[in-house]
């Protein structure tokens, strides 16, 4: 039923309006119930007429209010819907076509809403509604099945996108077969071509007035490839709409769904593709099972990573079983590559038949003619051949080397040579090995030498310190031929012992083109084990999924019988991904269809919720009025006002105490009286404890010594005047970030001016005094060499005689090394920097109200006393420098003086 642009989905509820007059009578008869009070003195009032008699009936406006509320509620329950373009002429019914491939996954809700809007529009135009989905299914719906509006809505609500692409040609054929003649066609499409958008639109237009409603993914919607790279992985994504300034996040996930890394990528303006480069350590890379575009739930937004993609296949050619494995030529190569690659050990000829990315070949003199040709071909197809030198290579003149070699090997540092063993030089910027730390302790004792040539320099990936090449490589077609000029075992050099060897091999292995993915073991069949649904969620395979023959796997496309997902076969697990090749957006719509972009689609809006909401608001208002009538409202109002005032007052009164102190007042206060400062970290709890700690220390100092500091200040290292404080205490929060540059500069100036900066990481543990990341935190602080404070340091005797420097924990205290040379020593050798992790402030902290310790301590009050003693010593040391150190020499001085006097006497 509709009323102008209003459409009532539950028109029967309107019958409730008939009840309104009855309600009128009921409501009129019952005024709100008064309160009842006993009042013995009522007798006094017997002759007193009240000024105003209460109405026996509800006032008319209250009645009206209630009627309106009820009427609104009734209208609301009738589910009115705003349907401005409801005047649709659809004789012969409406056909709603929905693209439900994975390309619709990201905006599936929008697509369903678009289609549902079409259902709503058609529902009052009469005629049956037909719904057709374009993605192929195991059981396809017959589009000629006529539905009423409610079941069409139901159908759309329950529909889910398929993890493959729509097949519009098949859908059109089915439509033709059904002989359906709709008066109106609405196509809710994903806006992609799928090689059929234009023809499909034309075919639909031939059947009836066609409206195309386009809902394209807004952002990156598909991952088209994900490869391992030298640093980690490279992931390509595509987007359908070239909206400038869009970013997308790609997440690398483990098989369990935990996120290992995420990368934000930015699309260049006008570009539809972007790459995310992940820097993932190799060990973690092995755990990556898939990449996912954050916020794009579709099968194409997930890229499953199988074994072949993750780990290069490396073949070790012609390995020999040896009795002594540690002396085996390939032992070190095997150990180096095992974590990163799938290793196969076969004869060279067999290796060339296998799908492998790289072949590692030890010292070999010659390669047979047949193998040589095949090897050449294999490299040019993208393979990587890594050769190692050795006596055999040196003796033979093998042509399959990056450069021509001299027919002898060079012997360094032997008894017959003047030359000393050479170290490896820094890797050049142009070298693929650039960035690998140079092994400084590895020496090369023997190597094969390249014939000098013009291009030798460009072919060299690594060299020795004297400039002779250590690793040379030549590009051959899409592949790479790499020669290490030393043996693969430590005979000729220490290189196999080093970590750099592992990295060099790793980078070498992936330097070629992609081989393994194009040539897969073509045997057996691959059975689906886990498959993606249309939203990109992995699940068990559906019953329709069938095994794929291995030889056709490379060309397989996602379909109902081969859904995207992980497939297992004799050659390992392989992934069938939906994202590649990426579908193309389609814009060249034929002229005889009406095209609406999602943004412009007029939606129907249900008004029922609003009406019921207003009705409830009126009921609430009515309640207020009733309360006011009964005289209860003023009291509630008073209580409410009290609560409001309380909260407002609390809010107004509560201000962080620190904010009340401006930097200038702080400076004035600090300049007039001695006081300590602590660094405000932003962690309120920590700051409170640190402040209480300094407060406690100040209190104890006042009790025990003539140093009587005022309450401590919190300072911002970057802003406040630090030089006014004799000591600044920095309690490092757990998730501390490095100090900002401005703060570092001010701290350095403070230290140079003789200040004392106490850094407390609060996490001392046996064997570890301070956090590992302390260096990072304090990077930039101008610190001379540090040393742990010794048991004889002045700190142990500047006031109390103490043995250690305990706080709540008991770690060592690091101070500036007094051994630093005289010129850079500042402040007469008094340390300005105190670094430890013993949480001294926590031990010193007292509640400034009660004076009781704030935190508990191991060892109780004894331990606390010891940490107070350390605090007193620390302050004394800071204030008096090494005065005490001079004092300890007094006995010696006296003795010396006495000796001199004695000597004088004897003279």
């Amino acid at each position: 039923m509709n009323l102008g642009p209003l459409l009532f989905l539950q028109p029967w509820a309107l019958l409730g309006l008939l009840a309104l007059p009855l309600l009128w009578l009921l409501l009129r008869a019952t005024p709100p119930e008064p309160k009842r009070f006993a009042l013995p003195s009522l007798a006094l009032l017997d002759d007193l007429k009240p000024d105003e008699e209460t109405p026996a009936r509800t006032p008319w406006w209250l009645l009206l209010l209630r009627m309106v509320a009820l009427a609104l509620a009734i209208f609301g329950f009738a589910r009115p819907t705003w349907a401005p373009n409801a005047q649709i002429n659809a004789n012969g019914g409406t056909l709603i076509v929905v693209d439900d491939g994975w390309t619709s996954g990201e905006r599936w809700r929008d697509i369903v809403r678009t289609a549902t809007a079409a259902v709503d529009e058609s529902s009052q135009a009469g005629g049956p509604i037909h719904v057709m989905f374009t993605a192929p299914r195991e059981v396809t719906r017959d589009p000629s099945e006529a539905l009423d509006a409610e079941s069409a809505r139901q159908l759309l609500r329950n529909a889910r996108p398929a993890p493959w692409l729509p097949d519009r040609v098949a859908a059109l054929k089915k439509l033709d077969d059904s002989k359906l003649k709709p008066g109106r066609v609405v196509w809710a499409t994903d806006g992609f071509d799928h090689d059929s958008a234009g023809s499909f639109a034309r075919a639909l237009a031939a059947k009836g007035g066609t409206e195309v409603r386009v809902t394209r993914p807004k952002n990156a919607f598909a991952i088209t490839s994900a490869d391992s790279s030298a640093e980690g992985a490279r992931v390509s994504v595509v987007r359908a709409q070239l909206i400038p300034g869009m970013t997308a996040d790609v997440i690398a996930e483990t098989a369990e769904g935990a996120s290992i890394a995420s990368k934000r990528l930015t699309f260049d303006t006008g570009s539809g593709t972007a790459e995310a480069l992940f820097a993932i350590p190799a060990a973690a890379l092995n755990r990556v099972a898939r990449f996912r575009i954050a916020g794009s739930p579709s099968a194409g937004g997930v890229w499953l990573w199988d074994d072949t993609a993750r780990r290069p296949h490396v073949g070790l050619a012609d390995t020999r079983d040896e009795a002594q494995p540690l002396l085996s030529e390939h032992y070190y190569v095997r150990k180096a590559l095992q974590p990163y690659a799938q290793l196969t050990e076969k004869k060279l000829g067999n290796l060339l038949d296998s799908p492998i990315d790289a072949i590692v070949m030890g010292d070999r003199g010659t390669i047979s003619e047949a193998d040589g040709d095949r090897l050449n071909k294999w490299i040019e197809d993208g393979g990587v051949l890594i050769r190692f030198a050795g006596p055999r290579l040196a003796a033979q003149n093998d042509p399959l080397t990056p450069t021509q070699l001299r027919p002898t090997s060079r012997n360094l540092g032997s008894s017959l040579s003047w030359e000393t063993p050479q170290r490896i030089a820094e890797f050049a910027v142009s070298s693929p090995f650039f960035g690998i730390p140079r092994p400084t302790d590895a020496v090369v004792r023997q190597q094969v030498l390249a014939q000098p040539s013009a291009e030798l320099d460009s072919l060299t990936w690594a060299r020795l310190e004297d400039g002779t090449p250590l690793v040379t490589a030549a590009r051959m077609g899409r592949g790479e031929l790499i020669l290490f000029h030393v043996t693969a075992d430590p005979d000729w050099s220490d290189l196999p012992y080093t970590g750099a060897f592992v990295e060099m091999l790793r980078r070498s292995v992936v330097s070629g083109g992609d081989r393994s993915r194009s040539s897969v073991a073509a045997e057996g069949a691959l059975t689906p084990i886990r498959t993606l649904d249309g939203f990109g969620v992995l699940g068990p395979p559906s019953s329709a999924a069938q095994p794929i023959a291995a030889e056709t796997f490379a060309t397989a496309r996602p379909s109902p019988i081969s859904p995207p997902g992980m497939y297992a076969g004799p050659g390992g697990e392989r992934a069938l991904n939906a994202g590649a090749p990426a579908p193309q957006a389609f814009d060249a719509w034929p002229l005889d269809v009406q095209v609406t972009e999602q943004a412009n689609i007029m939606e129907r809006r249900g008004l029922g919720g609003w009406l019921i909401g207003v009705a409830l608001a009126i009921v609430a208002l009515d309640l207020m009025i009733a309360l006011a009538f009964a005289g209860r409202f003023p009291r509630i109002g008073k209580a409410g006002a009290m609560i409001t005032i309380f909260f407002l007052a609390t809010a107004a009164l509560y201000q962080p105490p620190a904010s009340a102190q401006s930097s200038e007042t702080l400076a004035r206060e600090a300049a007039s009286k001695l006081r300590f400062a602590y660094v405000k970290t932003g962690d309120t709890r920590l700051d409170t404890v640190t402040k209480a700690g300094l407060w406690g220390l100040s209190y104890q100092l006042g009790l025990r010594t003539s140093v009587e500091p005022e309450p401590p200040h919190g300072v911002d290292l970057a802003k406040d005047s630090l030089e006014l404080y004799p000591m600044i205490y920095y309690a490092v929060p757990r998730e501390a970030r490095p100090l900002p540059a401005a703060a570092v500069a001010k701290v350095n100036a403070y230290l140079r001016a003789g200040g004392a900066f106490v850094v407390d990481t609060r996490d001392a543990a046996p064997g570890r005094d301070v956090s590992a990341n302390l260096q990072q935190l304090l990077s930039g602080i101008d610190a001379p060499p540090l040393q742990p404070a010794t048991a004889t340091h002045v700190l142990t005797k500047s006031y109390y005689l103490i043995k250690s420097f305990p706080g709540r924990l008991n770690g060592r205290l690091w101070i500036e090394s007094g051994a630093a040379d005289r010129d850079t020593r500042r402040g007469d050798g008094v340390s300005g920097l105190f670094i430890g992790g013993s949480d001294w402030a926590g031990a010193w902290a007292i509640d400034n109200q009660t004076g009781r310790p704030l935190l508990t301590m191991d060892g109780g009050e004894n331990a606390r006393e010891m940490s107070y003693r350390f605090g007193v010593n620390l302050v004394m040391y800071i204030l008096t420098g090494n005065y005490k150190e001079d004092q300890v020499h007094i006995p010696d001085l006296l003795e010396r003086l006495g000796n001199e006097r004695q000597r004088g006497n004897t003279d």
């Binding site: 008064p34 009842r36 006993a38 013995p40 003195s41 007798a43 006094l44 009032l45």
Partner: protein, 291 residues
């Protein structure tokens, strides 16, 4: 608050009576003396010899006891033992409106009135006076049992009881009520009583809400013990009228007491019990200013 147990009230009254100490009834009270009572162990009007004392100039010449004075050089005055006893009768309104309190925390008006009566009775009986309940079955007694008897007799009043007839003998009366019944009714009740009792106190005990009238909005009032209800549309609108009426009634009662030669004392249950005790006892004590 429900009606408190008598024992509790007794204890409360005993404590109050201790506060009050021993009351010495004033001279005028002698006229209401009950003949044949025991001596008061102090000098005063009586038949038995009490003491001789030295004559002072304040004593008139006629007071000299010449027989005694003749034996010595000094003049003596013969004093007799004081022999007075007054009767005090107490009455507490038993109507449901008086046996009522506005909330759980406030004591009932009747209970408070009873406590005050018993406290006064205790203090009076300690100084030898005879106390009893007006309209109670038993006669007045003196001594320590008096307050208990007053309490018990008053507690036995029934809500429907008529105002008791005046006593046969002269007495002093203490009438406790809220005095909300019509003024004429009270006049009729009290006039005959005042004929027998030249001395008396009207004690008005009110509940705090009766004095403050803290009502707002639509309220249905009713009197305890009565079915009649009264619906007030906006209770606050008659607040001024009510308070005027309330003050007017107090004024009327003061005037009525004046006519009878009595005193009118008011008390609100939210106050401490001892507050009205002074003014209650004041009129009866010897050092009271009233003649």
């Amino acid at each position: 608050m429900p009606q408190a147990p008598l024992s509790q009230l007794k204890a409360e009254a005993a404590a109050l009576a201790d506060d009050l100490g021993t009351l010495t009834t004033r001279a005028r009270a002698a006229s209401a003396a009950h003949l044949g009572s025991a001596g008061r162990r102090r000098s005063g009007t009586g038949e038995n010899f009490w003491q001789y004392r030295r004559h002072t100039t304040e004593d008139g010449a006629e007071r000299i006891d010449w027989r005694r004075s003749a034996r010595e050089q000094n003049l003596f005055v013969r004093e007799t033992e004081l022999e007075t006893a007054r009767t005090f009768l107490f009455w507490v309104d038993p109507s449901p409106g008086f046996r009522w309190s506005s909330n759980e925390k406030t004591i009932q008006k009747a209970d408070r009135a009873l406590v005050l009566s018993m406290a006064l009775a205790g203090a009076l009986s300690r100084s030898g006076e005879r106390c009893g309940a007006l309209g109670g079955g038993r006669g007045p007694v003196s001594g320590a049992r008096a307050p208990a008897r007053v309490g018990e007799d008053i507690s036995n009043f029934k809500p429907g009881d008529l105002f008791p007839p005046p006593p046969r003998d002269r007495a002093a009366a203490v009438v406790c009520s809220d005095f909300y019944s019509p003024l004429d009714e009270w006049r009729q009740r009290l006039t005959p009583l005042a004929a027998k009792c030249r001395d008396g106190v009207l004690l008005q005990v009110c509940d705090p809400i009766e004095e403050a009238y803290p009502f707002n909005g639509r309220v249905r009032f009713f009197r305890p013990g009565q079915d009649r209800e009264r619906l007030i549309g906006r209770a606050e609108s008659i607040r001024t009228g009510y308070l005027d009426k309330f003050a007017q009634r107090r004024q009327d009662m003061t005037n009525l007491a004046g006519e009878l030669g009595w005193r009118f004392v008011t008390h609100v249950t939210s106050e401490e019990a001892r507050t009205p005790l002074g003014s209650l006892a004041y009129g009866f004590t010897a050092d009271g200013a009233a003649a």
